[in-house]
Point group: C2
Chain length 383, copies 2
């Protein structure tokens, strides 16, 4: 009864899992949630109050242009420009979270049967979104430009989806050389690159890398307020090549007319008045300690031969257990031990590695991480 | 370069027009905008402040379940139940405006080539949304059940889209007998009905009619806060037959994960504490006077032989000029006279009648309507 496109897509196992594990005694490394205790609640309360004060209040409760709030786009463009990605407000489209940006790209660029190249493993909801559009997913290895060139030539993908900075689920970052090589390949083969960048401001080590979109009009750059501000507002932005702007605006009209006027006005007030850099410094300090705590525990709790990533930023550590392990079978045991994670298989477009799992360190305190990792070790070694 | 599906769909002429006519001297009957001076700004300001106060504030800034805020769903379900549509909270899915509900229905039910039956003329953005999903649109005449039965048998549509109460763009309402006949036909032929009901609470004359969804599990009922509260929040809801619930939730996950947590919490606070019935009484009184002013002016300004609808509620009057008129050609002249309307042709799936036009009376005061209608008359008769 559901459409064929939809019937091919399962509900997100991560979200289904999250719905099940709201027992308070569980320490969860499963979700990719920012730490709620670090939200700047007073600044948000003031920002919404500003947006609903004075003569502009009525405008902020009304229908609004599809492209998004002009002031918010200016503030976001200025921030991008300050981060080595020169951007004008008119290049930006405000989206209802970065997830919607993916859906709009799919609507604007993908006909059924189109090919989408993806890193693997990669962000689960992107895989779902492209699959729902009827696309065929083809994995690439960004570390091996020759193999990417082969895939581009053989499969002729419409687009390449990447989270180049502190990737979900692996935490890995593509270095400047690989970014340049992939952009050059995309330009040569006429492939669009989607550079999904929700985590870029959460760097705990090393220097900022120039976004892939700087200097190439084949790159669609996606940003989000979710990790630097608050995800509950569902506010993201899409920096669009000029050739795609009209198509993306039509897709956005059909999707929801425009993003919440009041949330956009509050976000503009927040970006204009809150000290976002000071807030980000606090976030980075807290998340860095959480990452270090998790990485410090891993060698103590995991069986010999386990490997894991060492992320420079973001929210995730990716773990591979030794031998023919199946983390999906370990999960129920972990829940019995009051700890949660996400099995790795759903993050693969093809040929999943069932011995992998994703751990998020962002939403647990160091003490919770220490306790939760002990529980995880007990669950893994109890098998 | 855009996908084939998207290339087939133009940007909304209504929204493109609205973007052009923000000259303050223009009196606009073009948009379907609620009157901003009637927004209950103090109640909304208090509702957002409540949502961002106390221990729940952090939860209202965080990611949230795809289905929507539990309390908001309970409040909406209770209101529906009180309006002759018995509804449980678990039947509702909160959407980012009613427009998103249309997009989710399209994603969940329509494969490319599917057939969608529509009244004609009907809501433009619904036509766009179904076209973008690759559907073929087939017009029906709800007043003639025999012809609808023929279309159902011949075209085998997946769904029938209707605005049965105070329709956009015509203002017409389907009576109880026609509702029952269409539901019976849909059940017999296995066709889903989408009952889009954004205007139902804006009745200025006559008695409430039972929604088509009452008593039939073939009807997907869509509601919205946009016309009774404020459109800027982009808050709608979809009452789903049990058979479609899982598919619609997967589509919603892919579309934007969930609707703004803070807007949902504020809407719940508003519905729980504001006196919505008193607010609606004020809205109805104001809009009734505006409708009556517009209907009173029409015979004075329009050429002999012009016909128009006499809506029991909603926001729109539909006008047909006599003879072979072309309202699209009249529009530039109207803008020269500082008055705006929407030509009727884009509201047709097939065989547009170029002599039609849509007038909205909701967002102009009676004095503005009187002045604007004089300008419109001058523009129409100047040709």
């Amino acid at each position: 009864m559901p459409s064929q496109r939809l019937a091919a897509v399962a509900s997100s196992p991560v979200r289904d899992l999250l719905a099940l594990i709201n027992r308070p005694e569980i320490i969860s490394f499963a979700g990719g949630l920012p730490a709620p205790e670090l939200f700047d609640v007073p600044a948000w309360r003031a920002a919404f109050d500003t947006a609903l004060s004075g003569p502009a209040a009525r405008r902020h409760l009304q229908y609004a242009p599809t492209e998004g709030d002009a002031r918010l786009r200016e503030l976001v463009a200025a921030r991008m420009t300050g981060r080595a990605l020169p951007t004008g407000a008119d290049q930006l489209l405000i989206t209802t979270g970065s997830q919607q940006a993916l859906a709009l790209v799919a609507a604007a660029l993908l006909d059924p049967g189109a090919v989408v190249a993806v890193e693997q493993p990669t962000y689960l909801a992107a895989l779902q979104c492209f699959s729902m559009a009827g696309a065929r997913l083809v994995p690439i290895t960004p570390d091996d430009p020759d193999s990417v060139a082969d895939v581009f030539a053989r499969e002729r993908p419409e687009l390449l989806y990447l989270v180049p900075t502190f990737a979900n689920p692996t935490g890995r970052t593509l270095d400047a050389g690989r970014r340049a090589a992939l952009v050059a390949l995309a330009e040569r083969h006429g492939v669009w690159i989607v550079e999904d960048d929700p985590y870029g401001e959460l760097r705990y080590r090393g220097a900022h890398l120039t976004p892939m979109a700087a200097g190439s009009d084949r790159v669609i750059h996606l940003g989000s307020l979710s990790k630097i501000g608050a995800p509950g507002l569902r506010l993201g932005w899409l920096r669009t090549p000029a050739a795609l702007r009209a198509a993306l605006i039509v897709a956005k009209q059909a999707a929801d007319l425009h993003t919440s006027t009041i949330d956009q006005a509050a976000a503009a007030a927040y970006l204009a008045t809150a000290d976002l850099d000071a807030h980000l410094a606090r976030l980075r300090a807290a998340y860095r300690e959480r990452r270090d705590t998790m990485l410090g525990m891993l060698p103590r709790i995991m069986p010999a031969g386990t490997r894991w990533t060492d992320p420079d930023g973001g929210m995730f550590v990716w773990v591979r257990l030794p031998g023919p392990a199946d983390t999906a079978a370990i999960l129920p045991r972990a829940l019995d031990h009051d700890v949660a994670f996400v099995p790795g298989a759903p993050f693969y477009a093809t040929d999943p590695d069932p011995a992998t799992l994703r751990l998020s360190f962002s939403s647990s305190t160091p003490a919770e991480i220490t306790a939760g990792m002990r529980r995880l070790g007990a669950a893994v070694t109890a098998g």
